[in-house]
């Protein structure tokens, strides 16, 4: 099993190289002379030349890529707009994004799985219809609109929670108050799709023969659901959470913009609107890295949950 985990860990390296190559490739799509596009039409000849030299923009492509990666990893890649190292800005913003993402993930798991199980056990009840209707609605609502609705309800009408900004570290009351709305709106997509899938997966498992056997043996219904069915139903659900993480990290960009949350997502949007290529490269690479790593963690969790997987 450890061999499998190590293999999966090593798999990150080619994926990240692939991602950075793709981002590099996209940067090559800049029409015309990149240096003058990056610096704007009013840039002096001198500035264009310095930039060309710094990024090796006149070198062949593979050397350009090598220089970009080397500068990024050693922390010497500088943002054009902020004039600071990209790694430094990103590391300042990393904590806020990770806090937001993890809280949203926890909220989603804690809410969605019980809702799905309850809907499956009480199939065709009012609760089932109501929760599944909400779930269908939930996958169609854009995250930013959920955010705006939450702000409208809780900040404008009831005025109980702050509408935007970062309140401070998680252990303070202020920090929590600021985190609740963004985390909820970010988790909404994940809640919707996970509860739908939990329900259908539970329903499928509850029809299996071994459940009938357990019931026939006289096992209590609560034990049948919580022990026998739950573990088997969770396998596709966990796969789905892994797939939906992309939505979570993409959604982070929107949520951070709606709530003025000082994270990497908002930084990425700023970078794109200033066309600050080094910063775009850095932020998107780091966000993709986070996505790949969380996906990996879920893959490894999978090993513990699904006894049938082969580790070779």
């Amino acid at each position: 099993m450890f061999g499998y985990i190590i293999k999966r860990l090593l798999w990150i390296i080619p994926v990240l190289i692939g991602v950075s190559l793709i981002l590099f490739g996209i940067m090559q799509m800049i029409p015309g002379d990149p240096a003058s596009v990056l610096l704007g039409p009013k840039a002096s000849q001198e500035a264009v030349e310095t930039l060309n030299k710094r990024f090796g923009l006149e070198e062949p492509l593979h050397i350009q890529y090598y220089l970009l990666m080397k500068n990024f990893v050693t922390g010497r890649l500088e943002s054009i707009y902020y004039k600071v190292e990209v790694i430094e800005i990103i590391s300042q913003k990393l904590r806020a994004t990770v806090e937001l993402g993890l809280t949203a993930l926890v909220i989603a798991v804690v809410l969605a799985i019980p809702i799905g199980i309850l809907a499956a056990v009480k199939k065709n009840s009012v609760f089932d219809y109501f929760s599944m209707m909400l779930a269908t609605l939930g996958i169609s609502i854009p995250v930013f609109f959920t955010g705006i609705l939450l702000i409208y309800i809780f900040s404008v009408i009831f005025n109980v929670l702050p509408s935007s900004g970062y309140g401070g570290p998680l252990w303070t009351k202020e920090g929590w108050a600021h985190l609740i709305l963004p985390a909820f709106s970010l988790s909404s997509i994940l809640i919707a799709s996970t509860s739908r899938l939990t329900r259908s997966s539970m329903l499928e498992v509850l029809q299996e023969d071994f459940i009938r056997t357990a019931r026939a043996k006289g096992v209590k219904e609560a034990v049948v659901v919580n022990k026998h069915a739950f573990k088997n139903a969770m396998i596709p659900v966990i796969t789905n959470i892994g797939n939906q993480l992309a939505m979570l990290f993409g959604g982070a960009i929107l949520t951070e913009t709606v709530f003025a949350w000082p994270g990497i997502g908002r930084l990425a949007v700023k970078a794109v609107s200033y066309r600050d290529q080094p910063l775009v490269f850095g932020t998107i690479l780091v966000l993709s890295f986070l996505y790949v790593v969380t996906n990996l963690i879920i893959d490894i969790l999978y090993v513990f949950i699904n006894p049938q997987i082969s580790y070779s």
């Binding site: 793709i22 169609s140 854009p142 995250v143 930013f144 992309a246 960009i253 929107l254 990425a268 290529q277």
Partner: protein, 343 residues
Amino acid sequence: MKKRFIPLILLIVELYVLFQNWIVKGLFWGSLEIKLATSFSIIVLTFLLILVFKPGLFSFLKENEILYKSFKEFKKNKGGVAGTFMIFIILYLAFCAPFVAPYPPDAIDYANMSASAPTFKHLMGTDDFGRDILSRVIYGSRVALGVAFAAVFVNAFIGISLGLIAGFYGGKTDTIVMRVVETWNSIPFILLALAIIAALGKDIINVIIAVGLTGLINFARITRSAVLSIKEKEFVKAAKALGSSDYRVIRKHILPNVISPIIVIASLRVGQAILLVASLSFLGLGVQPPLSSWGTMLKRGQEYLIQAPWISLFSGFAIIITVMSFNLLGDALRDALDPKQIE
């Protein structure tokens, strides 16, 4: 008679709209916008007339057994029927926007400047420039659907081509193509779209490119697996033995067999593409201001959330209804076209 009731009402509404526009306002064949609206109206009118007076005209379609069974399966799904109905209405609004919208999208009502609340004159209120929200929401459907359909077309074209290449040639080509597609997919959609827009600049065409290049993997995977299962069948081998070219085998024998899963994926993908375009516009990186799009309206609406919540609420509802219709349609199609159930 009960069956004809809904088409009859729709027909009366359509005739009223056409009477108002063609005869009262004299908008029949002016600019390109109105030509499009008129042509689309004529199509809708013919269709409704057939439905009301000669509903048996399409009965020859029932002879195709698979199609008929899928259709019957589809009709059982209430959500799918509702979704299809909504999509028709949204399409109608998009094509016939100049006929239906009460005002032009950028007309300023000087009496109701600076965001007035919904009244009978402006059913959804006005925005901070005094522009009618209802008209802007209706015109916004054009941008949303146009960009999304174009993006999904690009998506399907590239995805299917990659899947065909991978599945048909197999071996090393297969491994390389699928690995590239998987790595491509390991960047979340929005991030990839952002990177593309950062390189190309903000422009509606670039949004189509950016959204069209994300999410190829579903199309590629489905096509590839279908090709792999069909490739070994006798009829394909026979076609090859008869000397058909690769192109002919793909076009005549393989593509027709993968069309139904592709339709399902495409309809689900349209919903996602609408969301993605709205998200990019909301971030200020998609459709740019003079054009009315739902994402940009939401962005402006958030700034005026306290004084004028209707700006963001109505444009948000428009997004939800449209996306949900496509999701419902996709789900229903998936159930209806599932070959396991047709047997």
